[in-house]
């Protein structure tokens, strides 16, 4: 059944900031155990959408079901329980800059588990090795490059073995080699850790390579959904212009 495969189900979501409507009756179903990539223009509401999924923003109207539970009317305490299933990699990694790499990755483990220090250390070492950063424990975030910070951020997001991992523009601002490495990590997150990945991105080439499902967000709605092949064949002029990266077309540059 379709419902069982959907881990997140969004219905008629509306959100405005002042007079500016960012989400305009958006419907979206995200499939379990897949790399789901939401593409769209910068400033087009992708970040706003992802912040709704994790409950950092509340919609003006609409429903957001996570594992079949509506998170919109939830209070902070209930939300905290739902968030235990989530990990999130922020755009600039959002590492705690008063803590070193080891402490950053260990942070959620200290807060949410009763593991001993040696058990936590073991988990931290595994996660750091998984993102290729073993031996960097004592470095402070300020000493790391952008790509390293994002990998530490991913190790931290994976520390509690979340069922869903959100990626906010994971490759923006990185060199092509580092971007490719991060993209590979996203695929491995699904394969090795068995997590559903939700990625927002405007990097079309990478999206075509790693996505199982692609969703195109435009003017507050999802206007196309499908596998990379299906999106490539899509006849909607907006989708065509976006994935080909053309300046001329129905999408206005302003």
């Amino acid at each position: 059944m379709q419902q069982d495969r959907d881990i997140i189900h969004i219905e008629r979501l509306y959100k405005s900031f002042g007079d500016f409507r960012v989400l305009d009756g958006l419907d979206l179903n995200l499939e379990k155990d897949r790399v789901n990539i939401i593409i769209g223009r910068s400033g087009g509401g992708k970040s706003v959408l992802i912040k709704h999924i994790i409950g950092l923003l509340k919609p003006d109207k609409g429903r957001i079901l996570v594992h079949g539970e509506d998170i919109v009317p939830m209070n902070e305490g209930e939300m905290a329980r739902v968030r235990r299933d989530f990990g999130m990699l922020f755009q600039e990694a959002a590492l705690f800059d008063s803590l070193n790499v080891h402490e950053n990755v260990a942070f959620p483990l200290h807060e949410h588990t009763s593991k001993s220090y040696s058990e936590i250390d073991e988990v931290v070492q595994t996660k750091l090795a998984a993102v290729g950063l073993q031996g960097m424990d004592k470095k402070m975030p300020a000493e790391l490059s952008g790509g390293m910070r994002k990998r530490v951020g991913l190790a931290r997001a994976l520390a509690l073995e979340p069922k869903i991992v959100l990626f906010d523009e994971p490759t923006s601002g990185l060199d092509p080699v580092m971007a490719a490495a991060i993209n590979e990590l996203i695929q491995r997150t699904r394969q090795e850790f068995g997590a559903t990945c939700i990625v927002i991105s405007h990097d079309i080439d990478a999206t075509m390579k790693i996505a199982d499902n692609i969703y195109m967000l435009y003017e507050g709605k999802i206007i196309a959904r499908g596998s990379p092949a299906e999106i490539r064949e899509n006849s909607d002029p907006v989708v065509r212009q976006f994935i080909r990266g053309e300046a001329k077309g129905p999408i206005k540059v302003n």
Binding site: A80, M88, E92, A94, D97, F107, H112
Partner: protein, 256 residues
């Protein structure tokens, strides 16, 4: 005329709104005081930052305040031969008024600004959101320990401030201006009651709450990158200082 009144009204409403939001944050923080997890380590860390690290600057400024106070009162009192009361005047001024206020203002400059800049930076770099996403309440984790540390540490710092101020007064009055040392101390004992000291410490506690709460509030609602952090830090220092001096009047009128 109408536009001036309109502007004033607008400013006043803005101020009320802001004070309301500060109160909401305060109540949120209070509600977390009794809910687990209790991260004792965070409280001690903040007490060290706000209290211990402010010790030197509070002691130094209080010493000089006491010294200048002795100098000025000696000048005035010598006109009618009341030099022996310099000690009592310095001690009363310090315990009732200057000790708490100087401590409050110095800690605002040193720690209040740092609290705001730190939390503001965490806000604009999404570290506050990262806490929320990790199911850790940022008010409980960031705001509450700082407020508690301020309320506890400011009275302690004020005790140091009072002592240093009186010491400064003694140095200038007795060593420099030749007031009799026994007389100086005797008049302090005669005129300063424990109520003067306690009430001063209660004020200091209130100032500690104000400066940490305002610093946290301004940091917590920072918008707009590095520039935004700078702006809210300035606002935090100005607002804390103003609130400390205004509340000082009302607390004094209420207590003494």
């Amino acid at each position: 005329m109408k536009s001036i009144l309109g502007w004033l009204g607008h400013q006043f409403l803005g101020l009320l709104q802001e004070l309301g939001r500060i109160m909401v944050l305060f109540l949120q923080a209070l509600s977390w005081l009794v809910r687990p997890p209790f991260r004792i380590r965070l409280y001690f860390k903040q007490m060290e930052f706000i209290g211990v690290n402010s010790l030197f600057v509070v002691a130094l400024t209080s010493l000089f305040t006491g010294m200048v106070l002795a100098l000025q009162t000696f000048y005035a009192f010598s006109m009618f031969g009341a030099e022996s009361l310099v000690g009592a005047t310095v001690a009363l001024s310090m315990t009732r008024e200057l000790g708490p206020v100087i401590t409050g203002l110095m800690v605002t400059g040193r720690a209040g600004s740092a609290i705001c800049a730190e939390i503001g930076t965490m806000r604009v770099t999404e570290q506050v959101d990262a806490l929320t996403v990790m199911a850790i309440n940022p008010v409980q984790y960031l705001v509450l320990p700082r407020i508690v540390a301020g309320v506890i540490m400011l009275p302690l710092l004020t005790i140091i401030s009072n002592s240093m101020g009186i010491l400064g007064g003694y140095l200038v009055g007795v060593q420099l201006l030749d007031i009799h040392g026994g007389m100086f101390m005797n008049k302090i004992q005669e005129h300063v009651t424990m109520a003067d000291v306690y009430n001063g410490l209660i004020k200091a506690s209130a100032f500690g709450g104000i400066l940490t709460l305002v610093g946290c509030y301004k940091g917590f609602y920072t918008r707009g990158g590095a520039e935004g952090v700078g702006r809210s830090t300035t606002q935090a220092v100005v607002m804390s200082s103003v609130l400390i001096l205004v509340s000082d009047y009302f607390l004094t009128a209420l207590m003494f």
